[in-house]
């Protein structure tokens, strides 16, 4: 699609509300007018920023990673591929688009630019973000880490990420997004497009930690080709103003696979509307959408899951489970299944329950106090069926539960 055509479609969707989530007046924010600057190295990070990045699983020492991408607001960034990572590329999206003509075919391909006003706005303003590519056959064993930090008040961080795992490659990405808790009113628009080619394997782990005045509207989609595998784990652990996201994965060729895991730990008066859609479009494609929601304080969580079977010989599984820790919190699990082809096997399970009084008493009778017992039950609930969480993510989840329990009681 030529780029002026994209702009045209973006313009046409400028006022188009999102299907889900509260509406945000996009005129209330300042958009970046300049191109971001280079950060020389991670040594320039302040101590505060260093801690903030670690809270979302980032490792400033870069010990066990293959590359690092970091960005502050829309202002400055760092893209650093560590020594001898043959076949790995990490750079800001705008630079990559200048470097590679073909990349324009991947821009707004998985995600449609006219999806809603947020995608439209993202296209119409200056954006940055990362481009990450593993070339054909490259097995990049150590993860690429990325961290997007938003520190300015009244402003918008607008990123457009493109990830390509070429044929037969292996790529792992761990990404964190964070705002310091003192940031007043801000908006994060994040478009992410993932392309998993034949026999490639891409894992993507994302941790979010926002401030209570941040609205977040990520828009992401993935296209998986023949025998490719996409595994996404997402955790949001902090309060925020609102988030609405509904990532979509299309399994377009035979043997394609995707598992989407999400953990929402809701607190304060935050509103979370988080989903996942899996579209099974070719024989032998299969996948799972698994979510665990924990609601504390007065938060509101909507957990959506959507499976669409467009081809026979497909299998999809949906699990939306919620645990209420407070009487004033709400969880709504919304499972959707649509089989449009014979031989598409779709199943789901949805449960929402309170922490059991009997379980609490039992654990307390073994000497745990009420907070400890509650967090143990929550931890167990999260652990259930969200296998192989990266240790950093597991630790962030533990810390969030611990902190919230200690804070609230």
């Amino acid at each position: 699609m030529p780029s002026d055509n994209k702009k045209k479609r973006a313009h046409s969707a400028r006022e188009k509300p999102s299907q889900y989530g509260s509406d945000i007046d996009l005129e209330n924010y300042n958009y970046s007018t300049s191109k971001p600057n280079d950060l020389e190295s991670l040594d320039e990070l302040s101590e505060q920023d260093r801690i903030l990045t670690q809270e979302v699983g980032f490792d400033p020492s870069q010990e066990r990673v293959s590359a690092t991408f970091m960005q502050f607001d829309n202002e400055s960034f760092l893209a650093d591929v560590l020594i001898q990572q043959e076949g790995l590329e990490v750079m800001p999206t705008d630079q990559a688009l200048q470097k590679y003509d073909w990349l324009h075919d991947y821009l707004w391909n998985a995600v449609q630019v006219d999806t809603d006003k947020y995608t439209a706005r993202s296209e119409l303003e200056n954006y940055s973000g990362y481009f990450i590519r593993a070339t054909a056959g490259s097995k990049i064993k150590m993860p690429v880490q990325s961290c997007l930090i938003m520190k300015k008040n009244q402003s918008v961080q607008n990123v457009h990420n493109i990830v390509i795992a070429e044929e037969g490659s292996e790529l792992h990405i761990i990404t964190g997004c964070a705002t310091p808790s003192n940031v007043e009113q801000s908006l994060h628009l994040g478009v992410s497009e993932f392309y998993v080619k034949k026999k490639a394997r891409l894992t993507f782990t994302m941790v979010h930690r926002w401030s209570e005045m941040t609205d977040v509207r990520p828009r992401s989609a993935t296209i998986v080709e023949e025998n490719g595998t996409f595994i996404s784990s997402y955790a949001i652990l902090s309060p925020l103003k609102s988030i609405q996201t509904f990532p979509k994965v299309r399994l377009v060729e035979p043997g394609a696979k995707a598992d989407l895991y999400s953990v929402v730990y809701g607190s304060k008066k935050s509103k979370y509307d988080i989903g996942g859609l899996l579209s099974l479009e070719a024989p032998n494609s299969s996948g799972k959408v698994i979510s665990r929601s924990i609601a504390t304080d007065e938060c509101e969580i909507i957990a959506r899951g959507d499976l669409i079977g467009l081809s026979g010989e497909t299998r999809g599984r949906l699990e939306c489970d919620g645990l209420l820790v407070s009487n004033t919190a709400v969880i709504r699990a919304v499972p959707m299944l649509a089989a449009r082809a014979e031989g598409s096997e779709l199943s789901h399970e949805a449960t929402v329950g309170k922490v059991g009084a009997e379980q609490l008493s039992y654990l307390m009778s073994r000497g745990l106090n009420e907070e400890e017992a509650t967090s143990l039950i929550i931890r167990g609930f999260v652990k259930l069926k969200v296998p192989d969480l990266p240790p950093a993510l597991q630790k962030s989840i533990d810390d969030a539960i611990k902190m919230s329990m200690e804070g609230s009681m």
Binding site: Y362, M364, S365, G367, L368, N369, R379, D398
Partner: protein, 257 residues
């Protein structure tokens, strides 16, 4: 003499959901002694133990519970557990996602890691070998890595409860039917564990049971029989065979008649 008394209930009255279950019970438990609390089904044995443990649905409407001569009615379950009261549940609830071995490491000082600052639940315990030996001794090594009470068989549940309660090193333990559903071999294992404790004369054992084997093997010091939420008989070991022969109805009719 009173110095020996660890725990006592005085005219203890308890209701659940507004229904009276215990109607004024006076019991004393002395340090290092072994007690059998017996009685027909639904007589209030489990209720008594759970009330002493402090479970919130068991509301004390009258009387008192004294531990070391101090009332504990105002103490939470946690506080009671920490002061040395333990209860092995008759039907423990399932806790998903929490492994039995991790849990025991977490709650039992003996198995706790010295460097657990990084491991919230003691997950990377280096000291698990001792723990596993103890699992082995109770014949439940296979449960170590399973979720707490998730799909445990009847006999496994009993031994897992016993193991947890033992490792807490309590001053008094209420064992709610520790012998029900056990096969002959497991019964011997449980009997031996309890006998070892009895022989140290430090821990007070209160055993709720419907079978004579463990009670006789341990040579209980005292037998309390409850009926309809009241203490109706105090006796000793010698009553147990008679009780088995006659059944509660006839036994109590003849004794209290």
């Amino acid at each position: 003499m009173n110095d020996d008394i660890l725990l006592e209930t005085r005219d203890l009255r308890v209701e659940v959901n507004g229904v009276p279950i215990l109607g004024g019970i006076d019991l004393t438990f002395k340090i290092g002694q072994v007690y059998a609390v017996l009685g027909p089904n639904a007589s209030g044995k489990s209720t008594l133990a759970k009330t002493i443990m402090g479970l919130p649905e068991y509301k004390v409407t009258g009387g008192d519970i004294l531990f070391n001569s101090k009332s504990i009615l105002g103490e939470s379950i946690t506080d009671r557990a920490r002061m040395g009261i333990a209860y092995a549940f008759q039907t423990p609830p399932r806790i998903s996602g929490v492994k039995l071995d991790d849990f025991i490491c977490r709650v039992c000082p003996d198995y706790q890691c010295s460097d657990d600052s990084e491991t919230f639940m003691g997950e990377t315990c280096a000291c698990k070998q001792i723990l596993y030996d103890d699992f082995e001794r109770l014949g439940i090594r296979n449960l170590a890595n399973r979720d707490l009470n998730d799909g445990f068989s009847g006999g496994e549940l009993k031994r897992s409860e016993l193991f947890q309660v033992l490792s807490m090193r309590p001053k008094v333990m209420f064992l709610d039917e520790p012998d029900s559903g056990l096969d002959y071999d497991s019964l011997k294992i449980v009997g031996k564990e309890l006998k070892a404790i009895r022989e140290k004369h430090e821990v007070t054992l209160v055993i709720i049971s419907h079978h004579r084997y463990v009670l006789e093997f341990l040579e209980v010091d005292k037998v309390y029989i409850l009926q309809h939420g009241k203490l109706v008989y105090i006796g000793d070991m010698s009553d147990i065979p008679v009780l088995e022969e006659k059944g509660y109805e006839r036994f109590l009719a003849e004794m209290t008649g």
